[in-house]
């Protein structure tokens, strides 16, 4: 039997969460050690004997044995989880209790409870995202640093601090508590940021970025498995992630170059994800809450269902961006709106919309702000102005793929040898 992709990564989050309920959140490091140990054992044994019939159960059983050793050895010295404390002293109660707590029925909710614990509002959002990746997705510090273009030391510090804050509460977040709804917003936000880091982030490696998107989607789907968290907004978030992630396979062309939404080979979009996304979008349309995720999912659905770039309904998309701006005002949203305006009403209108962006100073370091100006100027036939903007963007480019993309743009400007009208193309920049 072949191990499925990311089996260890998926099991890591599940088992760490379950053990943390047993040991208490203050003993998170101990839970992580036990899981590490179980993985090392699996690595050694499986490579000689092959995969067991049910690898998830094998890993959980191995972790449970090891946990039992730890509990027996340290039950007098250490304080464990609140749910276990009454049962821990006697072997009569310890073993059945542990069997129960690590049984399939109980473990089902632990991943979600850990997710809610990580999205503790006292932590900065970037720390929440790092925690989710580390604890629930089994990413090492180095892997997180690579994904965020940060140093390992910085990430180590961020996670270390965040874990100290987590340790302040002994029990995992209680999904039956009244404040699920309030915390759920923070969970959405963290998963959304995780997804966006993959979709728009600075890391140059396509594979790393796609993994972040898929992890975010996996966790968002997990929210649908519990009645308290399977809300219309959760469906909207899943829809948005599916529909955007569907385009990932086409973002780099055969030559490994960054390809805009306009030039992408749409036959390479993931049809299965589009179908799933549209189904979630349909299920999101109930209840009274219209979230920003609903609106973004709707925008993504217009792209996903346009067979060709020039069949896109830009009028609808501009309207949705207007709505998104009232729900979540941000210069990046305004920039995307301006690009849609440029498609809908022409490049001069697009330029005017870009110039009208409030807080545009916050976009100064974002390479695709200058690139969007360049695109509009180029479409207006002002190649030299466009070239200036692309050069600015090039200075800010964050990785080789972006630099290559902008180099090609600058070459485009030169190819027209001056200010002439050129046909509209490659307008929407999707990074």
């Amino acid at each position: 039997m072949e191990p499925e992709d990311h089996l260890f990564r998926r099991e890591s989050g599940r088992i760490v969460a379950a053990l943390t309920r047993v040991f208490g959140v203050h003993n998170l490091a101990l839970a992580e050690d036990v899981v590490q140990d179980a993985f090392c054992r699996a690595l050694e044994v499986w490579k000689f004997r092959g995969m067991p019939e049910n690898p998830s159960a094998w890993l959980m059983t191995t972790a449970k044995r090891r946990a039992l050793d730890v509990l027996r050895r340290e039950r007098t010295a250490r304080e464990f989880g609140p749910e276990l404390s009454r049962w821990i002293d006697s072997e009569w109660t310890l073993v059945p209790m542990l069997d129960e707590m690590l049984g399939p029925a109980a473990v089902k909710d632990d991943l979600l409870r850990m997710m809610f614990s990580c999205c503790q509002p006292r932590l900065p959002e970037e720390a929440q995202v790092a925690l989710v990746l580390n604890i629930l997705c089994g990413f090492s510090v180095d892997e997180i640093a690579a994904a965020f273009l940060a140093t390992a030391a910085a990430i180590e510090k961020r996670i270390g601090r965040a874990k100290k804050v987590l340790a302040g509460s002994k029990a995992l977040f209680d999904l039956n508590a009244g404040d699920v709804a309030a915390r759920l917003d923070a969970v959405y936000r963290a998963l959304y940021l995780l997804f966006n880091e993959g979709f728009h982030g600075a890391s140059s490696e396509g594979a790393v970025r796609a993994e972040l998107c898929h992890e975010a989607l996996r966790l968002a789907r997990a929210l649908l498995e519990h009645p308290a968290t399977a809300t219309p907004v959760t469906h909207a978030l899943c829809a948005l992630m599916c529909l955007d992630a569907a385009r990932l396979p086409a973002r780099l062309n055969a030559a490994g170059e960054l390809t805009s939404l306009f030039d992408q080979d749409r036959s390479r979009w993931d049809a299965r994800l589009i179908t799933e996304g549209l189904a979630h979008l349909e299920q999101s349309a109930s209840g009274s809450v219209l979230s920003e995720y609903h609106v973004e999912a709707a925008i993504a659905s217009y792209h996903a269902t346009a067979r060709r770039a020039d069949e896109t309904d830009w009028g609808q998309i501009v309207g949705l961006y207007d709505m998104l701006l009232t729900l979540r005002p941000s210069p990046v949203v305004a920039l995307n709106r301006a690009i849609a305006v440029g498609q809908h009403r022409g490049p001069e209108a697009g330029l005017a919309a870009i110039r009208a962006i409030q807080d545009s100073a916050r976009l100064e370091r974002y390479p695709f702000y200058a690139a969007a100006l360049g695109e509009m100027e180029l479409r207006c036939g002002r190649a030299s102005a466009a070239c200036e903007h692309f050069r600015c963007a090039l200075e800010l480019a964050r990785n080789p793929a972006e630099r290559r993309y902008l180099d090609l743009k600058i070459a485009d400007c030169g190819a027209f040898g001056g200010d002439v009208m050129i046909p509209p193309r490659r307008i929407v920049v999707e990074t």
């Binding site: 072949e2 990564r9 050694e44 499986w46 997705c137 089994g138 990413f139 892997e143």
Partner: protein
Amino acid sequence: MSEFLFLYRSTIDSGRPSADESQKRMQAWMNWLKELGEKGHIKNTGQPLDVTGKVVRNHGKTITDGPFAEAKEVVLGYTLVEARDLAQAAELSKGCPILQGDGVVEVRPVMGM
């Protein structure tokens, strides 16, 4: 065909591989052993060995916990392979994933008649 024992030796890994790294390493081993098997070189896949243990010396008067902490390289497992000769056996060992790290494969002919 003659038999050879592959002894996999490595320092005890104190690093913490991530979930995906662990899985990749495992996959590499499984692929390698599978390939050897398909070419008909595997007599017995062998077993992994725990790094704990006892060392008995001095007519049994001295029993210590494994010398593994001080030992530079510990045997972590073994496989019994079949090959034409020692040269071919050594050639076969080259694909072993343990060589990607600081581990070694010791190739030892099983003594014949």
